[in-house]
């Protein structure tokens, strides 16, 4: 059992129990990103690159701080910069660290057809095992947050691991370690919610009436949460979805349809077999040949 985590609670395309003998005493973990404390320094992006040995292409400047322009197979986290004009007419610079949200009900895992390419650990981290990835991109369709990226080099899908390798040995994720303002914190999900409460109370006392926690129920909650000063309008933070959930289309495709369709196909074949042994074959008899001969002779007369 060398190098096995033994705490896998969900495994893609697997219908039998997963190895989950270990129950971590820390229960579920979470990363809390306090958007109101973020200064947009991108230390988290750099730390992510360094820890994971990733180097993205140097892009082009299009007149905004956001760089690269989008998540890629080499950029698993990205500071998104929104210039928001509030109802009072003032500018607010809303900076959101984007990346995998580590959903409790992960759409990527639900959509994945390859056994063990996506797993969810007992601590809540959703991890891709790229050795098992077949490059179909179904996880991209399954994700409500538009996070997984297909590599152009190897046709495998990559995303934030929540530094599962660091967390497994008791370290916090690299981005958390690098953040100079304490905008990113990491701990048990319960502790992070408590910490968020304090931050929200503080923000409310400063006039942000709608401050709140982003831990969307539609995906069963997430293991990356945000403290937002405008929790009533998550869209203003570079299109953070207000009510994310696995698309009904994906649920239909990957839900009841699968066993139902397989069952109907098997029944169709079974119906054929039963018909064959009950009603029997449809054969051409000598009388049919004789009737045909008579007509042919008549035609040739």
């Amino acid at each position: 059992m060398a190098l096995q985590s033994l705490d896998i609670i969900r495994r893609s395309a697997t219908t039998t129990p997963t190895p989950q003998v270990r129950a971590p005493a820390t229960t579920e973990v979470a990363k809390l990103i306090d958007v109101s404390k973020c200064i947009g320094c991108k230390a988290c992006q750099v730390a992510c690159m360094e820890w994971n040995d990733l180097r993205d292409e140097v892009g082009t400047n299009v007149g905004a701080y956001q760089n690269p322009h989008d998540l890629t197979e080499n950029s698993w986290t990205l500071m998104r910069f929104a210039e928001y004009e509030n109802p009072k007419g003032d500018l607010e610079w809303l900076i959101r660290k984007d990346g995998c949200m580590h959903c409790a009900d992960p759409g990527c895992l639900k959509a994945c057809p390859s056994p063990g390419a996506i797993v969810q650990y007992a601590n809540g981290i959703v991890d891709f095992h790229e050795e098992n990835c077949i490059g179909c991109g179904y996880c991209i369709s399954g994700c409500p947050f538009d996070v997984p990226r297909l590599s152009k080099r190897d046709n495998k899908v990559y995303k934030c691991t929540l530094c599962s390798d660091r967390v497994a040995v008791g370290l916090e994720p690299a981005c958390v370690k690098a953040c100079p303002t304490g905008a990113i914190v990491f701990g048990t999900k319960g502790d992070m919610k408590d910490h968020a409460e304090e931050r929200i109370a503080d923000l409310k006392s400063r006039g942000f009436d709608q401050a709140g926690l982003y831990d969307p129920e539609g995906v069963g909650g997430t293991h990356v949460m945000y403290v937002l000063h405008h929790a009533d309008k998550p869209e203003i933070y570079c299109d953070l979805p207000a009510n994310p959930r696995i698309s009904p289309m994906v649920r239909l495709w990957k839900g009841a349809t699968k066993p139902l369709a397989l069952g109907v196909m098997a029944l169709t074949a079974l119906a054929g077999f039963l018909h064959y042994i009950r009603v029997g074959r449809n054969e051409t008899h000598a009388s049919d040949e004789a009737a045909a001969q008579r007509e042919m002779e008549k035609a040739h007369e």
């Binding site: 289309m249 495709w253 349809t257 449809n282 040949e289 001969q293 035609a299």
Partner: protein, 213 residues
């Protein structure tokens, strides 16, 4: 002498070209159904071993799909004119209970294809089109990046539904070939006996003898 008379007494139903075309579609379909089912349900994933693993299954499936579509288009051009639904065919379909009960005496006579075969043909045409269009939308890495994710979700679902309908339709098609004796050799040797033609496709049989040898 016996060989001679057997040859003289058969009717050609499918030319070598028809048969080749049909079997190209059939082989492609078999490969597509096996590889598609591997990606459809975890219980079927082991089928991906037939193609060299999950990644090869994902790579090969769409290319085989394109070959099947092109071959099917050619096949459908060969048989399209014989598959126009008529009043007689609808009546044939209404009497499906008698057909599957092997009591065909009062069932309307069929042309080159009966109502069931024509229905199958149009189900296949629809499924093939649905599979082609939805398949391109979810074909990674080449085409999928050009479509929005909402469309990819819809396409994946549509692809699964069309494939399901087509697999069921083909199971019926294959079974009908096994059930109605003489049909498989029509598609392997190309010929049928006059009695077979008279019994199952009487209008076509009369057409054939009217035209003469």
């Amino acid at each position: 002498m016996n060989d001679e008379s057997e040859r003289r007494d058969t009717i050609v139903r499918y030319s070598a070209g028809d048969r080749t075309n049909h079997w190209v579609v059939a082989i492609c379909f078999l490969l597509l159904a096996l590889s598609g089912l591997a990606l459809f349900h975890p219980a079927m994933f082991w089928l991906s071993n037939l193609f060299g693993g999950g990644t090869w299954t994902r790579i090969l499936h769409p290319f085989i799909g394109v070959v099947m579509f092109v071959a099917f288009i050619l096949l459908s051009m060969r048989v399209w004119s014989d598959n126009r639904m008529s009043e007689r065919d609808w009546q044939w379909l209404k009497q499906w209970r008698e057909v599957i009960g092997n009591r065909e005496e009062n069932v309307p006579e069929a042309g080159r294809y009966n109502g069931g075969q024509k229905l199958l043909f149009f189900v296949l045409v629809l499924c093939m089109l649905g599979l082609l269009v939805s398949g391109f939308v979810i074909w990674r890495p080449y085409f999928a990046p050009y479509f929005p994710v909402g469309l990819a979700r819809l396409a994946a679902t549509l692809h699964a539904i069309c494939a399901f309908a087509m697999i069921c339709a083909i199971i019926i098609h294959v079974y009908a070939g096994i059930w109605v004796k003489g049909s498989v050799s029509a598609m392997t040797r190309g010929t049928v006996t006059p009695g077979w033609a008279w019994k199952h496709h009487r209008a076509w049989f009369r057409d054939m003898i009217r035209r003469g040898p």
